[in-house]
Subunit: 454 residues, 4 copies
């Protein structure tokens, strides 16, 4: 049995252990001194909407458990703290001359269009920025040989985009040459680049920012981190996550109905989560249907799982399994070693489990129907729910304030319900994962009644 945890049992916020992060790691870089007075409000009406600015010296403690603080053994002033988001009294860029670019990268996630719309509205209405362009299809949009035209982004253009899922700018995966990208930024005289993307895209943004710095340019590169798996560290929850697990819960409902409607039915849903099982955990908790949740963070033995399923089917007449796509990879690899034919399909834990369950019941001559679904596209493509709409509005406002004040090489995020600035290197330094000793996983175990280990 492991040691009792410090109070960081929530484990959705996977904070660094003592000593892991210092004040230096949390320092935010800027392009220079902010000397321009922030506009006092809403330009449409020429009336003030802001009278309150963030104190540039304030910080939010990264670690707020007594055990954690004590373990650091440093003076209060030296406890690592995060810079709060919000409008600054002095800004770096002159809004009337500022040119802004926006790009969305990587897989779809609910809320991308909300972020785009939020950035455009805050830039336009709050600061009066007049030139905003969207780049098409991820980092490809900066590279001339792809031949994509930019999109002129205005409040009128973004008015209704958030009612649709996906991204109006299009997206793509993969790396593009940062030199070429900065060539494009220079050619277009951009001052600010917003990158909405996952950890790969943020590494890309760090490359862009490096070239920007090498060339001595004054271009702020600010990220809005996107991950449907909720695996960005430090951050409470990534945008789109609530929408995603809500939709995923609907898929659990579907296989449960199917499983219940046949003799000894087994429902099986594969959900997103290559390294982190948050969607699987939350979706399962959102309903009381799941008998078993399998996540990458908690290895399992196949025999134990199958025995448990047979027992559940006997008790309840059916059983429901929720599996994160990254779970059980080691099982498939083991099988692979003994399988000379090298079947590539084995990488799919959903199909793997379906076959194993079917075979297991067949061997024992128990009638069953395994109903398997993989709702990945259906989940990724929905529009943001109201919670994520609010969250993305606030994130995009925070990102604009940060960029206008000349901050760069950073992302915005919410840590323990406060919007803060996080340096890009820190944001990609590791993955947020479900703590097998934490209270989220404990809640799943209590809810499903599955054993601690199979």
């Amino acid at each position: 049995m492991s040691e009792p945890q410090a109070a960081d049992y929530d484990n959705v916020v996977n904070l660094p252990r003592p000593g892991a992060v210092t004040q230096a790691d949390l320092a935010i870089r800027t392009l220079g001194t902010s000397r321009i007075d922030s506009p006092m409000g809403h330009l449409l009406d020429a009336r003030a909407t802001t009278e309150h600015y963030v104190d540039e010296n304030d910080r939010v403690l990264l670690d707020d458990t007594v055990a954690g603080i004590r373990a650091r053994g440093v003076a209060l002033e030296d406890l690592p703290g995060l810079e709060p988001c919000g409008p600054r009294r002095k800004i770096y860029f002159d809004p009337s001359k500022t040119r802004v670019g926006i790009v969305t990268c990587g897989g779809l996630c609910p809320g991308l269009n909300d972020v785009i719309a939020g950035l455009v509205r805050t830039l336009t209405y709050h600061y009066g920025v007049r030139r905003i362009v969207g780049f098409r299809n991820g980092y490809q949009g900066f590279i001339s040989r792809y031949g994509y035209d930019e999109v002129e982004l205005t409040p009128a253009y973004v008015r209704d985009i958030a009612t649709e899922g996906g991204t109006v700018l299009g997206t793509s995966r993969g790396h593009q040459d940062p030199e070429e990208i900065v060539d494009c930024l220079e050619r277009m005289h951009l001052n600010v680049l917003f990158v909405i993307g996952g950890d790969g895209s943020m590494r890309g943004a760090m490359g862009i920012e490096r070239v920007v710095a090498e060339r001595g340019l004054k271009i702020a590169v600010v990220g809005v981190p996107k991950t449907i798996d909720n695996d960005i560290p430090y951050i409470d929850q990534s945008f789109g996550f609530q929408t995603a697990f809500s939709r995923a819960a609907e898929s659990i409902r579907a296989v449960t109905v199917e499983a219940k409607s046949t003799a000894n039915g087994v429902g099986l849903v594969k959900l997103m989560g290559r390294h982190s099982g948050f969607i699987a955990c939350y979706a399962a908790l959102a309903r009381s249907d799941a008998d078993v949740v399998l996540i990458p963070e908690v290895p399992f033995a196949l025999d134990g799982l199958l025995a448990h399923l047979r027992a559940r089917v006997e008790q309840r007449g059916h059983a429901v399994v929720v599996v994160a796509e990254g779970a059980g990879q080691e099982l498939m690899e083991a099988e692979l070693r003994t399988d000379a034919s090298g079947n590539r399909r084995l990488g799919d834990i959903g199909r793997f489990l379906r076959t194993k369950i079917e075979d297991d019941f067949a061997e024992r001559d128990i009638e069953t129907s395994v109903r398997y679904i993989d709702p990945s596209y259906a989940i990724r493509s929905v529009p943001a729910n109201p919670y994520d709409s609010v969250y993305t509005v606030r994130l995009s406002q925070a990102a604009v304030h940060a960029a206008m004040s000349g901050r760069t090489a950073m992302v915005v995020g919410r840590v323990r319900r406060r919007f803060v600035h996080i340096p890009m290197p820190l944001a990609v330094s590791k993955r947020n994962q479900v703590d097998p000793n934490g209270d989220l996983w404990q809640a799943v175990l209590e809810s499903t009644g599955q054993p601690v280990r199979f």
Copy 2:
């Protein structure tokens, strides 16, 4: 202009200012020493679902801003901290002999049935408690002259209840004699009472607990705080709040469609929020439709509001107003003083504004249609959305762990994303409100473009 705030700008978590709360205020009372080994897991399968227990000495800092901590000027050990929720290695009650009561009080709120179901499941499956009763129609259910029978609560009974809104136990408002209630608890040999209700109900629970203590009984009284207005202090967000504002956003959509479809149309929605405008703020942020949000925390002048509306109608062809029910009360009182007839209807800010807007446009001979809705019942009665389902599951698990360990006179809640125990007196000591200088209200101003003050 006010002083720059400390980093407690999030203002959804309305934390006490330095000195306001001491370690003593956060101490949780218990019925006695916990000596019984906690059951190691899930009784259905006789397999362990728990191997991790909360460290009884751990605490979560109440205040985690550098500015806040510094202002207290105390040693680290003396910084006030909250007790974390979770299963304890030693518990106070012997599950096989424990008798539990559950009651729901006050107005409806999404998630009540989820909490009931969660309590019953955790008590039954995790601890093996075999006798759980629900009392009917709030505190009336304990009073014999009302003649309500108790409901036997079992996992089978609660299986599907969370698909419906409301509460299967029924509810009522108002006070009942705590002596009579404790008579009932004694008569039924109950060991634990869970009260799901608002601040009035928690005051009632404190009265019950006082009588329990006076009589030297060993009955744990544990609360799950309910408030659709999200006005409980310290707590991140109350359960049902996200469901409520999501549904409220749909009402904003409805009046926006109505307003847009007529010449110079004005849409007006009155939302819950007697003292706190959280639902109005979040629902407005969830859509980009609202032109004005009015909340109790920010007074406004009628003339300024009407002028702004006329301007918006002229600019955009229509306008949409979201008003919390507690907003503008001082305006109606002022009017009341000059109104000899003492019209009681004036207390309704929605109808008041409708009339004022109609009169204002009529005076200026501008054609308009004011479409007013008050969707209060529609909002209160919906089932919890997936997020609130997860939240209530975790809250109810936390409440059961607390009660089984003998804690009493406390509520469970989530503070900065950690589930903690909060003493009842602290939980009813004040109201959570939108900070007019905080970043939530700032986000609303940026989103609506309304001026800082009318």
Copy 3:
């Protein structure tokens, strides 16, 4: 007891009794002989999408019951028949020169934007019409003193409009001078006018068409009948009706939850239906919650109703009443005669019943809470559901084919699942109502268990 009905018991299709309608009544007027070859399909690809045209001589029998046909006593050829909708081999207008206007009139109804989008797409893609304008805010849009600009309607403009409720063109109620309207049509050289509106608007369209004919103009006036109450005669169901009653069912759910959650609770919903109780009937049948449905077509006595409600509350602990806005008007008038003050509020059957029920329970000293909602705006403003989306697409295609073939003074509709042309005078000649002896009302009685009469 009434005579057994002929098989026209469905009573949603309220067909004329024998002799009421002759073949002459069903004749559709045209502007002249169609001599132009219909375009063979989809212009975008210059590929044929049509190879099948409607036989200009075919008809659908208006009355298809043996009893009905026999009663007419005419030869088969003389049985009245309706002209089928669909593309014609020869059309009247040359698409490349055709100019089209669209207007929406009267109250909101789900599907208005779908009809607009459908008309624009079929005109553009199928026929290649290049000039389509939308008039703003109903018939006001034709009158210059209102000063509204027309909207240029293109496939790009209408691409996403159906995701929103309401009408992008705006609407208004009331009459405008047909001479002025035709002046406008002439001035703009329009050839076709599509009017989407209720019976008042169709009377307006008939006035326009009369002036068109008097002036010897060749302008086709074609209607798409809109009525959320489903009270257009002959037609199966009007567009938006299914969406409307589906949303109304959600309101019944809300008050049922409220009623169940309090002691002796009574839920009360007022639904649309001035003269026809279809929404009330269908919404009540869509759930098994309603104890009583009250519609304009079936008078009731207040005492009987109240006694029934008391009995239900005693049996089930709560009761739910669904009332159409036009029900019980005679009761309120009776009360009015004895009320010298002439309270105008009495016209609202919802508030009237709420007061009566509250008084009735109070008189008998029975605790109750009456929860009353009037969800009218919420129902009207939702976007069309998938069924109504399909229905409006097909209706708008039918309307375009009719207009392009030179038909005028007619509306499109679906009669016994076939899309047909109906002369405007016939379409406004009477109201469709729920038949108190028919099987829809019978289904309601069986479902609620309410007595045949109170």
Copy 4:
């Protein structure tokens, strides 16, 4: 080009051509003379809910087009007509002694639980039948070796079942020995058996009824036809169809979002429809996203399809294909003949098309992403929408009235919006299909702009 059709262009109601069906084919069999007075209404209150009965001699014409009637060349009295549904003045079974069985068979379809609940409520509340049993897992439930217990069906049991999809009775596919089934019916002294199932199940019911007749038993066998594909002939639309295509439209939305968000993206959805493409047609019409709809009724050439998709992708940047599972089978068979390995996977038109499209783009060096989903389980398992809830209530009321009057070997259905009795042999005599010359397919062609043939 085919001959112009008679007015039966709606093609959702696929009526028999002249001469195909005679009056004899439409005759409904009964167990004997109905001599018992029908109960006058609702037994709960002992108040009448019925005063109107169906005229036993009335009929609804099967064919109501002038062209169709004329072609028959028979006297009016001899035109084939359907018997209307509804309560009869005289019934055959004494309700107090009637024992009823219910079984659900075949694949899931939205509304199964609604039908079960409706049957139970009408039997109990309207007729006062006191013994109703549900058989588990389709026809297996009658066979003792499967060992399933029957379920006692009461209004309390069915109260909330319609909020869940699937069937509380469970289901199975396949044939069971009718002799054994009738043994079970005899052993349990059942008088009525309701079979809810597809055409296979109705053939099974015909077998049961044959054995019942051979043994001289008086057991009414009444069907409620279920087919998510909407392929039952004569009937307007089968229950669950609207719910199914509405949910299917959501899947089209999902792949459209995916396709739009990537460069040259192609979205591909496979929908139900082995022999009939109704779901594909309606779902595509419910949105304006689909570029191509492929159905079993309209063969296509692969090269033409691929060329069209490439053109669309070039024009619009993306393309969306909706394919019914039964479409293009002949293409796969052709391929199969040349494929020695006999890959069974080829039967899946979705995967087949995905590969073909990917290969086609790859050959031409065009970047693309094909996003393919098969939402079959998600569609089948949803609860009925409000329309289907109403429809199933009315169908189940009709089925109960038919059975209580002693009718047998028949199903209930809605033909041109009238609820009628249809003999089982007629209901399984053929399949309803989309008419490639009819107006539904025409509407699809106009909406997608796809050519008449590839």
